[in-house]
């Protein structure tokens, strides 16, 4: 089922060199890269008709909202990258190319669900209602976190790969003990842990899968297989499709075209419904591609070929959803123009906000080390305050030797 309208490959490369990994049997795809919905016959063959039926209930308004979120995430991502290049941020991990995986899955969440992200889930943060500029504190170096994890059900970014999947599982075990699973009411809730293909090699992720499976915790393990863990291709982490890992843990696994927002939403909704109902964890492998560098400190030209990036650029998730909206008559030029205007407003605000972030007072080094008083921290804090004060009124020239 090749995409018939694929542009001609650039000189020296062919589409065949970089086959679409989502054209493998068993991978849920509902919308082809050209924006057309898969035929009933194709869905019958793939066995994914139930997802298609669920996706058919996604309203045009919801489709437009997903598109808008994806475009705004990309605009924000581009702006943050620029801010890093201009020296306003210390580092930025781009999420370009992964918008469908992030926005599609986040649109399946309910307000009381909780998300435990890695550090690239800017799109999920946006859908959770976290003002995107709040993500910048961490990357400008003015705070380690910067947002309220509880207010938006969106926890802090975790830079130690995979550690947070255990926190997600423990949180899910807490939800079970609260009785917020399987009541069949709005009270039911669940957790999503986001991580990447690289993280699947971590012990903590494997332990999280063990704990979630054996406790039947309401956790959706959402693996964005973006093909690259910095410079290591997925083949460095695994010799089997990642989704196959799940069965060994006794967890249902589902592989989805991570650049098909409609399919991602349908698959994640089903997994979340199952978790909230008490059915236990699900492992989702969303096959996508990290179009940008790992972070602004990275140089992908050293380890991957331009042709691969170009092949994936023809599977762009935003263009795919735009094509669907156009083909089905859900969006007109005014809509697209309005989204662009929203993006311009967002990025202008982000730029202003970022530049307004100043270093916190140096005394804040000592704040919140403990939740309660601590004699050593108090002593060092007091010493530091008097040390700082010792320079008051002193002529700085010549130092204090």
């Amino acid at each position: 089922m090749s995409s018939t309208e694929t542009p001609v490959a650039p000189t020296g490369t062919t589409e065949l060199s970089w086959p679409d990994p989502c054209e493998v049997a068993g991978t849920v795809r509902l919308v082809a890269p050209d924006g057309s919905r898969l035929s009933a016959q194709a869905l019958e063959l793939s066995g994914h008709a139930t997802y298609a039926a669920a996706a058919a209930r996604t309203t045009p308004e919801q489709l437009r909202a997903m598109y808008r979120d994806m475009v705004m995430t990309r605009a924000f991502d581009r702006e943050a990258t620029s801010l890093q290049r201009q020296g306003e941020l210390g580092l930025w991990p781009e999420c370009r190319g992964q918008e469908a995986a992030q926005i599609g899955s986040a649109h399946a969440l309910r307000p009381r669900d909780h998300v435990f992200p890695s550090y690239r889930e800017h799109g999920v943060a946006h859908v959770r209602g976290l003002p995107l500029h709040e993500l910048l504190h961490l990357f400008r170096g003015t705070e380690h976190g910067g947002w309220d994890p509880v207010a938006h059900g969106f926890h802090l970014y975790t830079l130690v790969i995979g550690s947070h999947t255990l926190h997600a599982t423990g949180y899910g075990m807490g939800i079970q003990r609260d009785g917020d699973v399987g009541t069949g009411t709005d009270r039911d809730r669940a957790v999503v842990a986001y991580f990447g293909d690289g993280a699947t090699a971590q012990g903590d992720v494997n332990e999280a899968l063990v704990f979630a499976a054996t406790t039947n915790a309401p956790v959706v393990f959402f693996c964005q297989n973006n093909h690259w863990a910095i410079s290591a291709p997925t083949t460095v982490q695994t010799t089997v499709p990642l989704v196959e890992r799940a069965s060994g843990f006794g967890i249902p696994g589902i592989r989805v075209d991570g650049n098909d927002a409609v399919a991602v939403k349908a698959v994640t909704e089903a997994a979340l419904d199952r978790a909230r109902a008490g059915g236990g964890p699900t492992f989702i492998e969303a096959v996508t591609y990290r179009m940008g560098a790992h972070t602004t400190s990275d140089d992908p030209t050293r380890y991957r070929e331009r042709a691969e990036e170009e092949a994936w650029s023809r599977r762009d998730p935003i263009e795919r959803l735009a094509a669907l909206l156009r083909a089905e008559g859900h969006a007109d030029a005014d809509f697209f123009a309005a989204v662009e205007a929203d993006c311009a407003e967002l990025t202008a605000g982000v730029r202003t906000y970022c530049r307004s972030l100043t270093p916190p007072p140096s005394a804040s080094i000592f704040e919140n080390v403990y939740a309660s008083e601590h004699p050593l921290v108090a002593e060092e804090s007091a010493w530091f305050a008097q040390y700082e004060a010792s320079f008051d009124g002193a002529a700085p020239a010549g130092g204090h030797a």
Partner: protein, 360 residues
């Protein structure tokens, strides 16, 4: 020879002195081994607060390899006393998530040497979450670890890793030396809003002491956990101070008793807390005695004794009559149990340090 002295030193002198402050023996006072005292403290905490839950390997039906959680699963059910998968990082990581969800997990690491798979979760996650979240998240997890040697165990079962954790801000590290303290301190640790590493001196699990099981005997008001970090002078003296904690307190008391026979009046301070350290109590003591010997099983190099020596020296430089001396583990792996008595800070090695300090 010295080892036998340690074992026979457990009784009268040490306990009477060590338990003195809790001497208001009412009808609810019982003579319990430390392991049972911890069990009673856990039961009390669980009965008082529904959010308290236990998690660890073999802690349910078996009651833990040292039986510290004996009977608790039968009493509180499998949702509150959880037999976890055999994965220490998983235990800690899920405990963090449970704490984020409002629970107060008390996890057991089966032996000191098995805590290291969880070291990452403890030091990079648990210890830092309150700081990283600017105080928005509290993670009051208690990590119970049977620690220390002197039980003839095979390798990885006799370690004293406290310094590795004390070096990490965000953690509180305490260790009881008596059954009475064990009962009180485990409840205070659970009440603490911060993560606590609760080190249980496994060689003292079977040492008995009077434990006041009455409700009024334990200060567990909103700030009841604060006295957790206050050192206790278990024997007063004027010639020299010995600072010890956990398994070495009884040995230090025995040494003080022997020294008394030799005409030396030795004070013994049970630190009770390795992080923070109650430097005030130590400095007050050394200000009077002018001499300090620090005793612990952990290796001396970068060990708690080094930190204590530095801090007491800063505070008591002019009162010190001798350098602060340390008696502790060597810069070697913990040796085979057949020769562990030579590695451990024995009564004789403590007396040797006392003599060296007094002769300085």
């Amino acid at each position: 020879m010295s080892a036998e002295t340690i074992e026979t030193s457990e009784p009268a002198a040490s306990e009477q002195t060590a338990d003195a402050p809790a001497a208001t023996t009412g009808p609810t006072t019982e003579r319990l081994p430390m392991a049972r005292a911890i069990n009673a403290g856990l039961r009390r905490a669980m009965a008082t607060d529904d959010r308290v839950m236990l998690m660890g390997e073999d802690i349910g039906r078996l009651g833990g390899v040292f039986r510290v959680t004996d009977g608790l699963q039968a009493e509180f059910g499998t949702q509150r006393v959880v037999d976890s998968p055999l994965a220490e990082s998983g235990i800690l990581g899920t405990a963090i998530g449970l704490a984020m969800a409002g629970y107060r997990p008390v996890v057991e690491i089966q032996f000191d040497g098995f805590v290291f798979p969880a070291f990452d979760q403890i030091t990079t996650q648990l210890a830092k979450l309150h700081y990283r979240s600017a105080g928005r998240l509290q993670v009051p997890v208690v990590i119970r670890i049977p620690y220390g040697g002197n039980i003839g165990a095979i390798e990885h079962h006799s370690e004293s890793p406290e310094a590795l954790f004390a070096h990490t801000a965000g953690l509180r590290i305490v260790t009881p030396a008596t059954a009475a303290d064990a009962f009180t301190m485990i409840q205070q640790s659970i009440a603490s809003p911060d993560p606590v590493i609760f080190l249980e001196p496994k060689a003292r699990y079977w040492d008995k002491g009077e434990v006041d099981l009455s409700g009024s005997g334990v200060d567990l008001g909103p700030d009841g956990w604060r006295s957790l970090h206050v050192a206790r002078t278990v024997r007063t003296g004027s010639d020299l101070t010995i600072a010890a904690y956990g398994p070495t307190v009884a040995t230090a008391l025995a040494a003080a008793q022997v020294a008394e026979g030799e005409g030396h009046d030795v004070e013994v301070v049970d630190l009770r807390s390795v992080s923070p350290i109650d430097v005030d109590t130590l400095a007050e003591s050394v200000g009077r005695t002018g001499r300090l010997v620090v005793v612990h099983e952990a290796p001396m190099f970068f060990g708690p004794g080094a930190e204590i020596a530095a801090r007491v020296t800063e505070r008591c430089f002019h009162q010190l009559e001798a350098p602060v001396l340390r008696v502790g583990g060597f810069h070697t792996p913990y040796p085979a149990s057949a020769i562990e008595k030579e590695y451990l800070p024995s009564l004789d090695r403590i007396l040797d340090a006392v003599d060296r300090s007094l002769a300085y």
